[in-house]
Each structure stands twice: as structure tokens, then as C-alpha cells.
Subunit: 309 residues, 2 copies
């Protein structure tokens, strides 16, 4: 298919922007740039124009805002408020699939009520990254008929506000979460069952992220299993899922094509973006990433999944 | 490529034949047909002529031998000895990926020294299913220049005889084990690192089985990630890995083609066979399986892994 010029529609990313203190078997970092919206907005910015809604404290380093601006991310929706920035402190042991949380300080996020700037309200592609489901719903209320909304969540909200998470699932076009969260929310160990239960709640797309084991895509008429990109050197998995989701949504917005086939492609672009994110702490690798490198690994993904005739 | 008549070379399967007592969230069975050789020989028999080496006790039910014969499996290498048949007793909880062993009774396997019948010694394709690595090596000594030997192992032998397991790895063309075993034997949490470490020991093919997450294939010049076949209804995962390996080796023997591309196909045929095995306890589903069903799921695997242009 000859596309001509891509539509390149903008994407809105809403979620946490924070400072992470992380230890893995391969090193430790303190108060580095983190948060679901940070990873997903930067990832999406490799594909299309990105607008961001979130909140940071008065201690948020200017260099991080500069990093977003260098990726041409629109920060008019990012409020800077009195108080400290959201912080996460965690570690990974031998098994990099399992994050252990030492502390989560909501700080300025505690009183945060997201306000979508007027100029953002008609954004066609929206990613509600992992935050309180009530805030995700509050953002949705402020949007005027977006074309495609994807949401993520985490075990913390499933534990505490499962009904609100389910309300989000019912209201979005695509829902994504990791395998443990899908098993928990759907009360089944079988991911295929979980995927279909989530689909039955309303979204037309469900994506279950499985870390090193890749991702599963469910739609009404399609099922696609994407492996992860094989890496020998994973430094820090923090933000991999957010980077995946941001790349996926960014690619959909760029192409303005939410057909099943194009969502498959988007899942693979998301996989590629995540594979780079985990090669360094924080957004280190995404800062040096070249678009050509994204294309190289996308081609490689085709090679490692191809079934011969 | 037009193949004309397939070579249909015979395959030899060596390993445990046993009686399993298993409980899963979906039921319980007592003293049913089990053992690595049973699953892998029956699976291989869907593709080519199979010869079996193993031992059963005097209590081994004739109906199980009849089942093997119905699959036209050559049983001249199966000894019946005084004493009780090998028995495994285990259960699975919510997480069907994790088998819990309650008891293993080696019984007649304790004194077993495998003897390869003269008529089997030139079998070109050999699968050394999970047994004591010393027995696997003893079988290899009796073979006259097989074309392709694949071996499997398990944590029990890695715990107790890691050096002998490594000796097996060095002596075979293909080594297969599950993800936890590969991480343990190679002392790394990274499966890509583990795969390459195993390759560096000598085999030209390494296959890491990941249960519901599929399988990873490593060769000197190739890497292939196959997902599992999506199933909503898994009754009993016992024997899935053996069924996978048997289907894989059976397909290679049938086609007599060990090129990287054909090994990819073989991995997918193994995946398909395993997907049927777990649909019922013991070899229940493999007994009713039709070759056409294998073809249907093979085509389905192509569909669920295809990356669109």
C-alpha cells in the first residue's frame, strides 16, 4: 500500500512524571527522571507530535523539562506546583521481571486534578498512562470525542479501586496492563481467558504485556503474539511497559490507522522502543536513540518471528 | 520448494515410561500413562516411524502398550522387568506453569541400563528424553553415527549431576530444557545469555521451552521466538514439553532436513502438538488427535505470528 504523506495526528499522554531511585544488579541511580508519562511521551515522540498532561513539584530539575522540549513535546499541560515531585524507590534482584517497591511518595500527585488545556481537548489519540483511575476518567470527561483512547493501570489500583479500573476498561478503545495485573483483575491464571474477559467489557483492543516474554494482542477478530526483542544486556526494566505503550500509541497516531493489521505493527514498534529503554537507567538510552535504530530493530523483529513457507 | 516424497526417516526415543498421579484445578487422575518417552514417542509418531527404548515394571497395564502399538511405535527396545513401573505424583495449583512434585518412585528405573537393540543402532534421529544423563550418554555410546541427536533434561539432574548434564550438552546436536532449568544451569536470569552459553558448549541448536510463553530457538546464525498456541482450556500441562520435543524431532526425521528454516517449522509443529497434549490428562487428547487437526493449528500459528507488510 502506498500511503503518501502520513496523517501524523497528535497524541496526548497523561500520567505520572517523577523522580526514581532504582537499584538493579547492574547499578543504582538516585532521583533520575521517571514516571509513566515521561517514558511514554518520549517514546511516542519518535513517531508523532506529543502533548503531555501531568504535574511536577518545585524541585523538578529544569534539565528534565529541557529533555522533553528537545523531543518537541508540548508541555503546556504540565503544571509545576508547590511541594515535591512524585517519587518512586524500588529495586530488582536476579529476576528483572519483578520490581520490588521500597517507597512511593505521591507528593504533588496527591492533590493533583488534571486539567486538559483547551488546545488539547480535540487530540485524537490519547494515552492514559498509569495513574489513579479516577484521574484517568476525569481526563476522559474533558476530551471532545477522541478517536482512540488507550489506558494502562497497575496492581496498586486493582488492589484499591478495582471497580474504577473496570470503569476505565469500559470507557476506552484499548486497555493494556501486564500479565500479573490481567490475571489479578480477571481472577484467572489463563491469559487468553483474561484477554477475552477484558474485551467483553467493551474495549476493542486488549494488550497484555509480559515483559521478557513479549505481548499478546486481542481484538474481536484477531489474536497476535509478539515476542520481546532478544537482549543480552538489560540494565533496568523500569519504564519498559510505558515506553512500549507510548511507541504503540505514537505509531497509531502517526499513521491514523487503527485497523487490526496496523495495531499489530504498532505492537511491534512498541516492543522495539521498550527494548531500547531497558538498555540503560532512566531515559538514558531513549535520549541517544536514532530513528534509524528503531527501523533496524523493527526489521529484526520480522526476521525473528518469521515462519518459513 | 517441491519436496516430492518425504524421506520419512525413523526416530528413536529414549526415556521414562511411567504411571502418573496428577491433580490440577480441573481434576485428578491416578496411575495414568505418563513419562517423558511416552509423550514424546506418541507425539513423534504423528510424523514418522518411532522406535522406543525404556523400561516398565510387571504392573504396567497392557492397554498402554496397546496404545503405543496403535501408533505403530516399535516396542522392541522396551524391556518389561520384575518390580513396579516408574511413578510420578504431583499437582498444579492456580499457576499451571509450576509443577509441584509430591513423590517420584524410580522403581524399575533404578537399576535400568538401556540396551539399544541392534536393529535400532543406525537410527538417524534420536531423542534422549529426560532421564539420568549417565543413561543418556550410555545410549549415545551404542548408536552408530546418528545424524541428529536431541536431548532434554530437568532440574533434578541439574541439581545432582550438573557436570554430566553439561557432558550431554557437549555431545548432542540439539539441547532442549525449560526456562527455569536454562537459568539454573547457566547461572543467569537472562534467557538470551543462557541460550548462547549453551550453544557455546557445542550443540548447533538450543531450544528453551517457556510453557505458556512459547519457545526460543537459538542456532549459530539464527534466533526464532515462537509463542504458544492460545488456549482457554488447559486441563493438565504434564508432558507438554515432551510432546513438544517429540513433535519437533518427529517432523525433522520425517523431512530429514535440519536447516535453520526447517528447525523453525519443527518448533512450530512441536508447539502445536503440545497445545493438544494439555487439553486433557495423560495422553487422552493425543489418542483422539487427527493429523488434520495438527495442520489446522499449524496454519493458525502462522496467522497469529504474522507481521503485516
Amino acid at each position: 500500500m502506498i500511503r503518501g504523506n502520513a496523517p501524523r495526528l497528535p497524541a496526548l499522554v497523561v500520567g505520572s512524571i517523577g523522580l526514581d531511585t532504582v537499584e538493579t544488579p547492574f547499578g543504582a541511580v538516585r532521583d533520575v527522571l521517571g514516571g509513566a508519562a515521561s517514558f511514554s511521551a518520549v517514546s511516542a515522540s519518535f513517531f508523532t507530535d506529543v502533548r503531555m498532561v501531568g504535574v511536577v513539584g518545585e524541585d523538578f530539575p529544569a534539565e528534565h523539562l529541557a529533555l522533553f522540549r528537545a523531543r518537541e513535546i508540548d508541555l503546556n499541560g504540565v503544571q509545576q506546583q508547590p511541594g515535591a515531585t512524585f517519587r518512586w524507590n524500588g529495586y530488582y534482584e536476579y529476576d528483572l521481571n519483578q520490581a520490588h517497591t521500597l517507597a512511593t511518595h505521591l507528593n504533588v500527585f496527591e492533590q493533583f486534578r488534571p486539567t486538559v488545556p483547551d488546545a488539547y481537548r480535540d487530540t485524537p489519540y490519547v494515552f492514559l498512562a498509569n495513574i489513579d483511575p479516577d484521574l484517568q476518567l476525569a481526563v476522559l470527561e474533558q476530551m471532545s470525542a477522541p478517536k482512540f483512547v488507550m489506558a494502562d493501570t497497575m496492581n496498586f489500583w486493582i488492589d484499591g479501586k478495582a471497580n474504577r479500573v473496570l470503569e476505565v476498561v469500559k470507557r476506552v478503545d484499548a486497555m493494556t496492563m501486564n500479565d500479573a495485573e490481567a490475571r489479578q483483575l480477571c481472577d484467572t491464571s489463563n491469559l487468553v481467558v483474561a484477554g477475552h474477559r477484558l474485551l467483553n467489557l467493551g474495549p476493542r483492543v486488549v494488550i497484555i504485556k509480559k515483559g521478557e516474554h513479549g505481548a499478546l494482542l486481542f481484538t474481536q477478530h484477531d489474536y497476535f503474539a509478539a515476542p520481546s526483542f532478544p537482549l543480552e544486556d538489560v540494565k533496568d526494566p523500569t519504564g519498559a511497559g510505558d515506553t512500549f505503550a507510548g511507541g504503540l500509541l505514537g505509531y497509531l497516531a502517526f499513521t491514523n490507522d487503527v485497523s487490526d493489521a496496523n495495531i499489530r505493527r504498532a505492537v511491534v514498534y512498541g516492543t522495539v522502543m521498550a527494548s531500547y529503554a531497558v538498555e540503560d537507567f532512566s531515559l538514558g538510552r531513549l535520549q541517544t536513540l536514532e530513528p534509524g535504530e528503531v527501523m533496524v530493530r523493527f526489521a529484526e523483529m520480522r526476521r525473528i518471528t518469521a515462519m518459513p513457507e
